[in-house]
């Protein structure tokens, strides 16, 4: 039998053993829980990442259908408009082609297929392809470089020129307005495979307005790729927000080339949403586009600098408005100036032509524009 003291010591020893055991369990628990929590978290993240990888869309592989000199070259498919009004698709390989420019005949390495329908955007696209040769372009879908064309019959042949040197033509007929080197500070970093929305051609401004209404009201927005469709939706929305479509007027000796239609421009890396058409003045062809600007209360040079990352070469004043002139190496001049300053929907024009500075200023002095309300074509 235990006496009181022995039982007391026995109880204390049992208590101490119990406390020691609890302390050990607590230490083990505190060490094990973070490790187990990290393992569980890693497992959850792994499963989530695995599910994410399984849900990634597959990039469709593209069959490269041509090879030149044993090297696969990128293919640019650009529709051309024939005299009979039929739209045909021609494939142009990137190869050495002689083209005639206003100043001199030079040999350049680039894709030179230029069509009426594609306008400057098509050239931009072609230029881009030439830059990305050969690795990225080999996997680029053909459909990405195909402009959306809604053309009407025209009387002029495609502007593709591969003539012999020594037979110069008027500058306006050789190259289209856009100059890829115009924006050197903002290099194109678009990933291969990223579709780019192309300009939409319409026979006239009324057809364009109806298309805007049809897209916004009825939801009939062109485009197959979701991003392309999104670009068009944004474009139609901006036009609808402004409420007007602009085009140059046939007045003061300026003749708008209605047979070449009007082109709606989705947002691109170097230009805003707008509408473009062509005009002829004193035998020279001018590309005139009216853009919807995003920035308010800024001068044209400031806007070009902040939005397009380009710098005006020369600022002149025409009809009380500051006009920014930029001179390209191939002789083209680009002029930008605001024409309307509305609250939140400023409009400025871009005039581009391979003319002299004096001719450009004459054109700008004589140029008038007209606009139609898009809502007038909303048929209930």
């Amino acid at each position: 039998m235990k006496n009181d003291e022995q039982m007391y010591q026995s109880v204390l020893s049992r208590r101490d053993a119990y406390r020691t055991k609890k302390e050990r369990q607590k230490r083990v628990f505190l060490r094990a829980v973070p490790v187990l929590a990290c393992c569980c978290l890693a497992a959850v993240l792994g499963i989530g990442y695995w599910d994410h990888l399984k849900k990634l869309p597959e990039i469709p592989s593209v069959q490269v259908d041509s090879e030149v000199s044993g090297t696969t070259l990128p293919v640019t498919t650009v529709p051309a408009v024939t005299e009979t009004g039929q739209t045909v698709t021609t494939a142009a390989r990137t190869e050495k082609t002689k083209v005639t420019s206003a100043k001199s005949t030079e040999t350049v390495t680039k894709a030179v297929t230029v069509t009426e329908a594609a306008e400057s955007a098509a050239i931009r696209q072609t230029e881009t392809q030439a830059v990305t040769v050969p690795t990225a372009a080999q996997t680029r879908p053909v459909t990405q470089t195909q402009p959306v064309t809604q053309t009407k019959p025209v009387t002029e042949p495609p502007a593709v020129t591969t003539e012999e040197p020594g037979a110069p033509e008027p500058p306006a007929q050789t190259t289209e307005p856009f100059i890829p080197s115009e924006n050197p500070q903002n290099p194109q970093k678009e990933e291969p495979g990223t579709p780019q929305a192309q300009p939409l051609m319409y026979p006239d401004i009324e057809a364009a307005a109806k298309a805007v209404i049809d897209a916004v009201i009825n939801g009939n927005c062109p485009g197959n790729d979701p991003r392309e469709k999104g670009a068009y939706t944004s474009m139609f929305g901006s036009i609808m927000h402004n409420g007007y479509l602009y085009q140059v007027s046939s007045a003061n000796g300026i003749t708008r080339q209605d047979d070449r239609g009007i082109m709606l421009l989705p947002r691109a890396r170097y230009e805003d949403i707008g509408a473009a058409c062509r005009a002829v003045y004193q035998g020279q062809s001018y590309y005139v586009a009216f853009h919807y600007a995003d920035y308010r209360g800024m001068t044209m040079p400031e806007y070009l600098q902040r939005s397009m990352k380009v710098t005006s070469d020369k600022d002149v004043t025409v009809n009380g408005e500051t006009v920014c002139l930029r001179f390209a190496d191939d002789g083209q001049i680009t002029a930008n100036a605001f024409v309307e300053r509305n609250d939140g929907s400023d409009v400025y024009y871009t005039v581009r032509a391979a003319v002299s500075e004096t001719e450009m200023l004459d054109f700008l002095n004589e140029m008038q524009y007209e606009k139609i309300a898009v809502y007038d074509y909303w048929i209930l």
Partner: protein, 183 residues
């Protein structure tokens, strides 16, 4: 006077001497009480130690609704009942185990001073367990019927009835053994 509550509070406050005092004061009585259950003085001693260990380790809350002794005996009874359920041990006294009887007599002699009470306590072993418990709590420990009811987890009326029948059975048992007593 019941000093167990104060000693227990001091133990909870960190003074181990309080536990020592509790063991000194209640050890013998609790052993004898639990022995009325298990009929084995060593098992009763182990169960008593388990009861004190329960106080020392789990530190159950003493609410003060009853005396500390009542509360402690109730804990001991609960532990003993659990022990009996676990081991399903019959309360049979191994009469041939003289060693056990010697230990029991030793602690009995220390705790129960009156010769007459010791004779009665011996006679308790031949009664039913409930009779043993109720007579021990009432007669030897001096618990009231209400306190006995708390310890045995019965109603007061049940305790009164049990006590009446237990006394009657004890009288018969004492008469059989030639014990003389006065009414």
């Amino acid at each position: 006077m019941d000093h167990g509550a104060g000693s227990y509070r001091r133990y909870l406050a960190g003074d181990d001497e309080g536990l020592h005092e509790i063991i000194r004061e209640y050890r013998a009585g609790l052993i004898l009480y639990l022995n009325s259950f298990v009929q084995n003085i060593h098992t009763a001693e182990d169960l008593t130690e388990d009861t004190f260990a329960e106080l020392a380790i789990r530190c159950p809350k003493f609410s003060g609704k009853s005396t500390f002794k009542t509360w402690l005996y109730a804990i001991g009874r609960h532990i003993t009942a659990k022990h009996l359920r676990t081991h399903a041990r019959l309360s049979i006294v191994p009469l041939e185990s003289q060693e056990y009887l010697a230990d029991e007599e030793s602690i009995e002699g220390n705790y129960i001073k009156s010769e007459q009470k010791r004779a009665v306590h011996k006679a308790l072993h031949r009664l039913k367990p409930d009779y043993r418990q109720v007579l021990y709590l009432s007669y030897f420990e001096g618990f009231s019927n209400a306190e006995t009811a708390v310890i045995m987890q019965k109603s007061t009326r049940q305790i009164e009835s049990l006590l009446y029948n237990a006394k009657k059975a004890l009288r018969t048992e004492l008469e059989r053994s030639g014990f003389e007593y006065e009414e």
